[in-house]
Amino acid sequence: MLRGDGGEAYWKRKVGKVIAKRKAAGPLYDEKAVRDVRQGVKQWERVLEAWSKGKAERKVFQTASAIPLKPLYTPADVKDLDYSETGFPGVYPYLRGVYPDMYRGRPWTMRMFSGFGTPEDTNRRLKLLLQRGETGLSIAFDMPTLYGYDCDHPKAHGEVGRCGVNVSSLKDMEAIFDGVPLDEVSTSMTINAPAAILTCMYAAVGKKSGVPPAKLRGTVQADMLKEYIAQKEWVYPPEAHLRIMRDLMVFCTKEMPLWNYISISGYHIREAGSSAIQELAFTLADGFGYVELGKEAGLKVDEFAPRLSFFFNSTMDFFEEIAKFRAARRIWATVLREKYGAKDPRSLLMRFHTQTSGASLTWQQPLNNIVRTTIEALAGVLGGTQSLHTNSFDEAWALPTEKAVEVALRTQQIIAEETGVSSVVDPLGGSYYVEWLTEQMEEEAYKYFDRIESAGGILKAITSGYLQREIAENSYRLSKRGEAGEDSVVGVNKYSVEEEEKPIETLKIDFKAQRRQIQRLKQVKKSRDSAKVRAALDKIARAYESERENSIYPMLEAVAAYGTLGEIIEVGRSAFGEWKEPILL
């Protein structure tokens, strides 16, 4: 899947099998019963027709991914169901959930993404969230940090602290986590190209506060494949970033066993305009790519696959989202076992984080966004997510205010504690529609895997622009549907109000953040031992030159000596060059 070398037969066979299976009869319903249901459906269709006669012309019903929908699903649509392939929660193939008790044991982790301005601003926000009962931290970084530029770089001008916190050196990380008990929290960092550097910094902060790397819990996103596909925050060409990811995989397997060094993300693929099917297929294909990367590095699949976790989007087509989550779990378990030979149950179960969709939020009538987020969050929960971020209603306007973030967190707490949805595992399992749609999503995903493999594997599909163009076309399709009123958006193309919207109160970020960051960076550079930094940077450069050396160890040294993020990234820029995207228009 990664390099398109030899997996084709598997995917072709798999597509054939899935299609054939869906046509065959399963053991749950006997053939006569299915025939009777079919007969019943035919009769009912006549009732439906008579009922609908003379009413306004009905629109075409389909899912957001354009899967055509019937008005009703019955046992005849899922006659192939075989409960041995559905199974039980916490048991292969995990379709119904990854843990036996799911939310009865404990609810999902409520993890709110935050970070803006200076490290001190973010530190205050983190402490506030901890105090309010949040159970996991999540940090957003600003654009210069994400692209690997220090705050004093000309390209960083005007962007420091604008949409996340700025980190230029270890000093900033120390300030972000000041007074935060690293042995008690788990921290998720949304960082990709510089993920290895931020992991090193987190380890260094831990070390200073007496928490060894082996005890640190958290996640860096570090999913570079989806950067090229969707989020587009890269520095080097794909092969170079993959090489550093490989080093990080090997390093963490040995030294930071509780660290999720990669979060394979469909979120951004979806936000970039893909369909649910594309999100499912491209994300899992990336996941298979990383399994192959780990194997290339000489690791055994059961040594590292338990640490792979996922991150999905949840948007407005309620049932399609739920079916997507369910399908994802079964595909992952099946392929890991069949194709990659994983045996450890922890390798087979797909844990994932969910975030409600930013793209579904509207600028118009912003309070409506609370409702959208609630529905999306519920889909994530019914889909069996392990953790959840709910967006704030004001995010189509600006970064969220504290008040809006609080409402978003309360939304999750209400779902968890007032609705009763967490009392029963996979409560929609067995719904004819949901089971049918789950199988449909699965079939479509396998077809995409086959197409990607035929296009030469993920890397080829990225460098040729194939995956990016697939997404751009879907996103244009969605825009046109919205424009034509085929997809309703309340407050935008329906029930919109004539008069100007009153501005809601939004968060203001002042430009002082940039000045303060630059000031701190100057201080850091003045007070550190420059020779030590230089030596560590040279070591990284040598590691990059040699395929056999692991670049993370010298990176730890560089970080601890207060080598900056930009300096470390620059070493790679000289070694590997910069990436230029293929033309997508």
Binding site: M143, H157, E159, V489, P503
Partner: protein
């Protein structure tokens, strides 16, 4: 209304994201929509500096530059492109913008002649109409 010959002229538009911002869903949709609306579209690709955007606009002799940023840097990047255009002989080139732009920022940008400033959820039709309108009035001097 009789059709004037210059109305048949094609609008040349540069679509660009001048900064560290990979959120390209909007620009890619807009680029396609502008093209389907009959314009000649040039896309800057990702991560150009304001300098590169201004140079591209002048070199390509466009009528309009359409800027998009969702990363909060519009108050520095948009005015910078505008200023550079004026400095490098592209003062005639119209600048429109969009993205996540807080209300408070809008008057300052409008004052610099950077118009549109559309947020998420704006219809493509509205954006296209705005671009066409400005080009006809200000570049082609139609009434």
């Amino acid at each position: 209304m009789t059709r004037k010959p210059r109305e048949r002229k094609k609008i040349r538009i540069l679509v660009a994201k001048p900064g560290l911002d990979g959120h390209d869903r909007g620009v890619l949709v807009l680029a396609r929509a502008f093209r389907d609306a009959g314009m000649e579209v040039i896309y800057s690709g990702l991560l150009p500096t304001p300098e590169q955007v201004a140079r591209m606009a002048v070199d390509e002799d466009v009528d309009v530059v359409a800027l998009s940023l969702l990363n909060g840097a519009h108050m520095t990047a948009f005015p910078r492109v505008k200023k550079l255009l004026e400095k490098t002989g592209g003062g005639e080139i119209l600048v429109v913008g969009g993205g996540i732009i807080p209300e408070d920022d809008k008057p300052k940008l409008l004052k610099l002649g950077i118009t549109g400033l559309y947020g998420p959820g704006t219809s493509l039709e509205e954006i296209i109409a705005h671009v066409k309108d400005r080009v006809r009035k200000e570049r082609w001097k139609e009434r």
